[in-house]
Amino acid sequence: MSLLKVERLSKEFGGIHAIEDLTFSVEAGDIHSIIGPNGAGKTTLFNLITGVYTPSSGRVLFQDRVVSGMKPYELAALGMSRTFQNLQIFFNMKAIENVMVGHHLHLDRRFLPSLLRLPTVTRRDRECRDYCAGLLEFVGLAKYLDADAGSMPYGALKRLEIARALAAQPKMLLLDEPAAGLNATESREIDEVIKRVASSGVTVVLVEHDMKMVMGISDHILALDYGRKLAEGTPAEVRANPEVVSAYLGAHG
C-alpha cells in the first residue's frame, strides 16, 4: 500500500518553479530517499508534504486522504512528523522537554486539568517523561537528559530532533539531511538510528547528501533536478541511470 502519494505537485516562488509537476509515491515500511544537487527542490518538497508550504497546484495524499492545504499540526495528528535541515530546536527548554513536546498529541492537553495540576495530568506526564527518556537513549543522548538544549553540541541536536519527531509516534518520519555537518562517526550513528526506526515499522522519507548513507540504507530512491523528477527506483537502478550521473557530475564537477 502506498502510504504517501504526491500527484502532479508544483510550487512556484515569484515565477520560479521550485517543484514542477512532480508525481511519486512512498510505500509503507520503506526507507525512501530523495536525492539531488543543491537547489533541486528537496527541502521545498518536504515543506509541501508537511504543510509548511501550500502547493501552487497538484495534491498530496497521505493514507489515501488528500492532505495538501492542511496545517503541519493537523498532519502531525494524522501521523506525519519531520526534522529540519537547519535545526528547529526549542533552545529555551531542556533536552527531555524538547522530546516531551514531541509527545504532545498523546497527552492530556486540556487547559483546566493542566492549570490545577490534577493527578491524571501529572501521572501521564511522568509516564511521558520516562517514555521520552527512553527515546533519548534510543538516539544515543541519554547523558543529555537534563541538559539545556542551548548547551548541546550540533551533532546531538540533530539527534534530539529525531527523538522529538519520534515522540509524536508517527507513521511516516521525514528526515531533512540528518547527517549534514556531522563527522563520519556521527554519520554512522545516525545511519544506525534510521535503520532501527525503519525496522520498528515507521516509514522513513530521507533527504540526504551523503551518498554512501543513501545507497546503503534506502529501499527506494527519487532523484530530483530543478524541481523535476530525474529518476526513480532502487539504489542500483538510480546509480546506473545516466541522467543522474551527469546531473551529479555536472553539479559537483
Partner: protein, 315 residues
C-alpha cells in the same frame, strides 16, 4: 536545582515572606504598598506566561487591567451586581475580548505585534477617558468595598492578606501550567513555531490561549484593585502603565515566575524609595530600565541564579 523542589520550595518561601513581612510594618501605609506590590506581581505572573514563556510581547495589558477595574466599578455601582459577580463577569468579558482580538493580532510578529497590542491598549484608554457618562471620564469613578457573603474586605491590613493569598494562588497556578503539556507547548512556541507545529502543536491556538489567560489575570487584579482603592481613573489603562507592567516582567526575569514577581515588587517599591528625590524620579527610573537591560538582559533573577551557579562550580 530540580524543578519540583524549586516549585514547592519557592511557594513555601513566598508564603513565608508574605506572612512574616508585616512584622516589619510600622504603619498601615506599609500594608498599602505591600498590597499594590502583590497586585502588580499577580498581573506580572500572568503577563510573564505570555511574554516570558510564549515569547509574545504585549504593550497593552494595562488596558485589560483597566477594563477589569471599570467593569467591576460599573457593574457594582450602576447595575447593583455583587462584587464577586462583577469581577467574574468582567473577567469573562475581558477574556472574550482578548480572544476576539487575539486571533488576528497574534499572527503578527515582533514589532508588529508590539504595535497592535499598543494600539488596543491606547484605544481602551481613550474609550474610558471619553465615555464620561458611564466611566466618569478623566475624573474617575468611585467604588464600594468588596463584600462577599455579608462580609466586607476593608482596610489595608485585610487587603494585605487577601492579596497575599491571591498571589500565592496565582503563582501556584502559573507554576502548574508551565510544567504541564500546555505549558510545554507554550514554551515550544517561543522556541520554534514551526518546530512545534510539526509535532502537533496548534501554535495559533496556544498563543491565543495564553493571551486570554494573561488578560484575565490582569482583569481580575484590576477588579480587586478598584475595590481596594475605592476610586479609579482611566490612567490605570494608560500606555505608561502597560510599559510599567512589561518592564516589571523583563526586569525581574523573563520566563521565570519568581523573577516576574520580584520585578513587580522592586518597581512598585522604587517610587517610595525615590520619593525623597522626586524631581529625579523619571530619570532614575529610565536609567534603571536601561542599565538592567544592558547589563542583565535576562533580568535580575536569572542573572543572579547564573552567578550563583558559577560560584558554586557548575550546576
Amino acid at each position: 536545582m530540580n524543578i519540583y523542589t524549586a516549585r514547592t520550595g519557592g511557594l513555601a518561601i513566598l508564603a513565608t515572606i508574605i506572612a512574616v513581612a508585616p512584622l516589619g510594618f510600622s504603619n498601615t501605609y506599609f500594608y498599602d504598598v505591600g498590597v499594590n506590590a502583590m497586585f502588580n506581581a499577580i498581573v506580572c505572573v500572568g503577563l510573564n506566561l505570555l511574554i516570558g514563556y510564549a515569547g509574545q510581547i504585549s504593550l497593552g495589558h494595562a488596558g485589560f487591567f483597566a477594563l477589569g477595574a471599570y467593569g467591576s466599578g460599573i457593574l457594582t455601582t450602576v447595575y447593583g451586581f455583587p462584587p464577586i459577580g462583577a469581577l467574574v463577569l468582567s473577567a469573562a468579558v475581558v477574556g472574550l475580548l482578548a480572544f476576539a482580538v487575539g486571533r488576528p493580532i497574534l499572527k503578527l510578529k515582533g514589532h508588529y505585534l508590539a504595535m497592535a497590542t499598543l494600539g488596543i491598549g491606547i484605544i481602551i484608554h481613550i474609550v474610558l477617558k471619553t465615555e464620561a457618562k458611564i466611566t466618569g471620564g478623566p475624573d474617575g469613578m468611585s467604588l464600594d468595598n468588596f463584600k462577599m457573603l455579608g462580609f466586607a474586605i476593608k482596610g489595608d491590613v485585610m487587603w494585605y492578606w487577601v492579596a497575599g493569598i491571591a498571589l500565592v494562588g496565582s503563582v501556584w497556578l502559573a507554576l502548574n501550567l508551565i510544567d504541564s503539556p500546555v505549558g510545554r507547548a507554550l514554551r515550544a512556541v517561543h522556541g520554534s513555531e514551526v518546530g512545534a507545529e510539526v509535532v502537533g502543536v496548534d501554535t495559533s491556538r496556544y498563543k491565543v490561549l495564553v493571551f486570554v489567560v494573561s488578560a484575565v489575570f490582569a482583569s481580575v487584579v484590576g477588579s480587586l484593585f478598584a475595590h481596594k482603592n475605592g476610586f479609579i481613573t482611566p490612567d490605570i489603562g494608560s500606555f505608561f502603565h502597560s510599559v510599567e507592567l512589561v518592564t516589571m516582567v523583563v526586569l525581574g526575569g523573563m520566563a521565570s515566575t519568581f523573577g516576574a514577581l520580584i520585578g513587580a515588587v522592586i518597581l512598585t517599591l522604587l517610587p517610595q524609595v525615590l520619593a525623597a528625590v522626586e524631581q529625579y524620579e523619571a530619570m532614575i527610573l529610565g536609567a534603571i530600565m536601561m542599565g538592567t537591560m544592558i547589563f542583565m538582559p535576562k533580568g535580575l533573577l536569572p542573572s543572579l541564579v547564573a552567578v550563583l551557579r558559577r560560584r558554586g562550580g557548575g550546576r
